[in-house]
Amino acid sequence: MPVYSKKVMDHFMNPRNVGEIENPDGVGEVGNPVCGDMMTFYIKVKDNRLEDVKFKTFGCGAAIAVSSMVSEMAKGKTLEEAMKITPRSVADELEGLPKQKFHCSNLGAQALNKAIKDYLSKKKKGGNK
């Protein structure tokens, strides 16, 4: 019996939106190598919507699949909608994650959140958007 669902395997084998964005509007980094996984999300915002989302991830199969899924879920959403993505909704979209992987690898929503907050705080300080 495989450990991961078909959906997780699909996102792990063919991750969407891998990479960095040049001059991103927001960056969010979570995790560290000690706990196993590390994710960095980059976002580009236009008219309050996530025009582009990219990520880089160091970690296990679940961590990579989670990042890919979050990027896919977030792209095109308004900032408010994107902030509502949770570890639970990501795991559901992935048709489940192994129990022991739920917490450590499921950092994607948090990283995205951090990138959005980074954007908002830059904007507040009088950035160009």
């Binding site: 590390m38 994710m39 296990c60």
Partner: protein, 395 residues
């Protein structure tokens, strides 16, 4: 797709000759070895001859062998049973920091029962220094356990030298030889030890069977009470087919050991030498020379072991990893950390453990498959991006 099994440390396949030897005991010869009738006789003889075969593998006497259900049981039995049997002499045990969990956690259980436990450190190759063993000994030390070889990094320990130290002080010495017995020459008298664990599925025998050798005269407290099987030291009806399989595997290992080592060593050395040549920033873990014949282990920097394992699996290659993500406990390998590797590097752990079916073509396939996989994961890795920007001056 080519299929290449390189996870023989997890388990070896069962040899056809071993399976053949086992079959009668899954069929007509079903008796209980404790029974006094003809049915019992057949099973009893089979167990007795397996005992001779396993003893011969390690140069021991048959009546010193106790059959168990696994290497893990043998280690539990040795650590707990030997310590408990001598607890009137003292309540201190010393084990190396890189022991298998079946030894380490047994020692921790002893600690809950009032014993004190010292963990003997290892050097960067995973070798126990005799001086460190000496330093960890006390007047009330009643047991030392150091593994013969480490299954995760392949390093072979200087058991003979270590056991000499404990013998001078009359402290029983146990070695977990699960990784070596049946694979490399193991002779209990030469090693100068008192107890040794081995397991069938490490040398082409069945799973679910192991053995513990205890030198005559060394006392051990049984962990399983019941009947008088195994001279009363391990109660429970014997797993006759598995014991027969273990015996046959031991016999074959003894006959073919030199040939197997001769075949495996150059394949291992190709991996150890050529993989770091094909991928930048790969470190060999464990001792460069004093290591198991079929064992090549590495840490690939900036990427994580489980994702490497999964991508290799998708290309038909089976390996394992000591990364935190692959362990059910989600903790970095205690072996790699004890050797002084950082958590970050330990995450990139990957091990190739070769078996008698592997060929030079298998190694070619691994060497060509692995670099694009490492590259693909590195393109995704924020750690690699940082490395490229700072160390390499940007791309």
């Amino acid at each position: 797709m080519r299929k290449v099994y390189l996870d023989n440390a997890a388990t070896t396949p069962l040899l056809p000759e071993v399976r053949e030897a086992m079959l009668p005991y899954l069929g007509d010869v079903f008796g209980n070895p404790s029974s006094l009738h003809d049915w019992g006789d057949g099973a009893r003889e089979a167990v007795a001859s397996a005992r001779e075969q396993v003893a011969a593998l390690i140069g021991a006497n048959a009546d010193e062998m106790i059959f168990t259900g696994s290497g893990t049981e043998s280690n539990n039995f040795a650590v707990k049973g030997l310590a408990l049997a001598q607890q009137n002499k003292g309540k201190h045990v010393a084990v190396s920091a890189i022991e298998h969990f079946s030894v380490l956690h047994s020692a921790r259980t002893l600690a809950k029962w009032g014993f004190e436990v010292s963990e003997i450190p290892v050097d960067k190759y995973g070798v126990v220094n005799p001086d460190d063993l000496r330093r960890s000994l006390r007047k009330d030390t009643v047991l030392v356990s150091v593994m013969h070889a480490n299954g995760e990094v392949g390093t072979i320990e200087p058991i003979q030298e270590l056991a000499r130290i404990t013998r001078e002080r009359n402290i029983p010495f146990h070695t977990d030889a699960v990784a070596t017995a049946g694979t490399t020459p193991v002779k209990v008298v030469e090693l100068g030890i008192d107890a040794l664990s081995l397991a069938g599925n490490q040398f082409y025998g069945p799973k679910g069977v192991g053995a513990l050798w205890i030198r005559k005269g060394v006392r051990i407290m049984p962990l399983l009470d019941g009947g008088i099987q195994e001279e009363g030291r391990r109660a429970g009806t014997e797993n006759v087919p598995a014991i027969v399989g273990l015996g046959k595997a031991a016999e074959l290992a003894k006959i073919h050991m030199a040939d197997r080592i001769k075949r495996l060593t150059p394949l291992r050395d190709r991996l150890l030498k050529e993989l770091p040549g094909r991928i930048e920033r790969v470190v060999v873990t464990g001792h460069p020379r004093n290591r198991l014949p079929g064992h090549a282990s590495f840490c690939v920097e900036f990427i994580e072991g489980e994702s490497m394992l999964m991508l290799l699996n998708s290309r038909g290659i089976a390996v394992s990893s000591g990364s935190a993500c692959t362990s059910r406990a989600l903790k970095a390998s205690h072996v790699l950390i004890a050797m002084g590797l950082s958590h970050e590097i330990a995450q990139g752990s990957i091990l190739f453990t070769l078996g008698i079916d592997n060929t030079n073509e298998d190694i070619d396939y691994v060497l060509e498959t692995m670099p694009p996989i490492a590259d693909r994961l590195r393109q995704m890795s924020p750690l690699y991006a940082k490395f490229s920007k700072t160390v390499k001056g940007g791309k």
